[in-house]
């Protein structure tokens, strides 16, 4: 699913914990233009569950949450149109 979308920015937060994971993802998303895609790499299940949920409730479109390795999650998000 993530492959279909060109990723405009990638963020490696595998060694970060909350609240930094959410804060950095949100700020990175706000820097993008509407419709652009952000890819966030996370290293713990709490963040991999909380970050997409919070971003979804902020109104952005969560395209996918993949788990390429046992403790590595990749969240791709499209910035909302506003």
């Amino acid at each position: 699913m993530a492959g279909k979308n060109t990723v405009d920015k990638s963020l490696d937060l595998k060694n970060e914990v909350c609240p930094y994971t959410f804060v950095k993802s949100k700020l990175a998303l706000e820097e993008l233009d509407p419709g652009q895609v952000l890819e966030v790499h996370l290293g713990n299940s709490e963040s991999a569950s909380n970050v997409p949920r919070s971003i979804d409730l902020e109104g952005h479109e969560v395209l996918s949450v993949d788990r390429p390795e046992t403790s590595h999650w990749v969240v791709t998000v499209r910035r909302s149109q506003q």
């Binding site: 700020l27 820097e31 709490e46 949920r53 902020e58």
Partner: protein, 354 residues
């Protein structure tokens, strides 16, 4: 028997905290900074089970809950310091314990800091601070400061009316919850139910062992430190065995999902988390409890002190999160400006070349 019972309860708790991703740091922060309330709901469900359960067991004569004196200066300052610390540490007291179990070295740094911070204020060089801040206490006409006594409720009937109203309000809010999306592990319902039942079981097991309190992390940590470092086992209780079981239970849960991986943060983060642990330990030992001892067990007894400490833990965590958001967004702005400047310089250089 209490050793085995305590460790078993700790194992189950650690397992559940890991599966549910039950971090009260995230729960408290989300009130203000995020629109997701899933972990707040899990906490409210834990409280619902424990407030009703503790009251019922008290009236049945099974429990004689101990309510700490309302030493308000220490609870206000300690709660706030604890709240600031847990944001820096990347997890509350229980969150730090269970994340150590699955191999996060940042949380191990935070736990060592927590041990140091609690020892510093509780028996260490800063004991005078704890003692002086715990001097002024408030009571309600000579009785302990609980919600019932403040409201002048003396009969069992009225107590249940108040609890019924509070429980109904909590139930309505919980039942109106939207579906929890992007879930990994347990949803808030199961997490709240299991952690709530385990917290209540901790009350019963403690009562059987002659200790009139429920789940806690701060005092047992101090007791374990004293035992390990000084051979003084006077503070060791069934709660200490539970605390030992928590990281082990989390490790078992994380092994099953492949999440038990040693993970080392960058040096700055490790330092921040360790310093956060010290801050958290100082706060918890001043306030006489952490997010578990006050915000779950203390609130189960409707202690005013626990409610006040919890409010200040929240205020501390919101303040620290606000500072982080501010500094991170400044960094982001600065980086963007620098990028723009570079691009301008490059295009200017190109123009000059043409």
């Amino acid at each position: 028997m209490f050793v085995i019972g305590g460790i078993a309860l700790g194992l189950l708790l650690g397992f559940s905290l890991q599966r549910g991703g039950y971090c009260m740091n995230t729960a408290f922060r989300s009130f203000f900074y995020e629109k997701d309330r899933s972990l707040v709901r899990a906490w409210v469900l834990v409280l619902l089970i424990n407030v009703i359960g503790v009251q019922l067991l008290t009236e049945l004569g099974v429990l004689y809950p101990l309510v700490a004196p309302f030493f308000w200066p220490a609870m206000i300052a300690g709660g706030f310091i604890f709240g600031v610390g847990m944001v820096l540490a990347g997890g509350c007291a229980s969150g730090t314990y269970y994340r150590c179990g699955r191999g996060m070295l940042g949380s191990m740094g935070a736990l060592l800091g927590f041990v140091l911070g609690t020892a510093l204020v509780d028996g260490g060089a800063l004991t005078w601070l704890q003692q002086s801040m715990r001097q002024p206490t408030l009571d309600v006409r000579g009785q302990e400061a609980t919600l019932f006594n403040v409201l002048g409720i003396e009969t069992a009937g009225l107590r249940w009316v108040l609890l019924g109203v509070l429980a109904a309000a909590a139930m309505v809010w919980l039942l109106r919850a939207p579906k929890q999306r992007f879930l990994i592990g347990w949803g808030w319902q199961r997490t709240g139910l299991v952690v709530g039942v385990l917290a209540l079981a901790a009350w019963v097991l403690s009562a059987m062992a002659g200790r009139d309190f429920g789940l806690s992390f701060t005092q047992p940590t101090v007791a374990l430190t004293r035992y390990v470092l000084a051979g003084d086992d006077s503070g060791i209780s069934v709660a200490s065995y539970m605390v030992i079981g928590v990281p082990a239970g989390a490790l078992l849960a994380a092994k099953a999902t492949g999440e038990a991986v040693l993970r080392i943060p960058d040096p700055r983060t490790l330092l921040r988390q360790s310093g956060g642990g010290v801050t958290m330990g100082v706060g918890a030992s001043l306030a006489g409890g952490c997010n578990i001892g006050h915000s779950i067990t203390g609130i189960s007894t409707l202690s005013i002190g626990a409610i006040v400490a919890t409010i200040f833990i929240m205020l501390g965590s919101w303040t620290m999160t606000w500072l982080i958001v501010r500094s991170e967004s400044r960094n982001a702005q600065r980086a963007q400006k620098q990028k723009q400047k570079q691009q301008q310089q490059q295009s200017r250089a190109k123009e000059a070349f043409v």
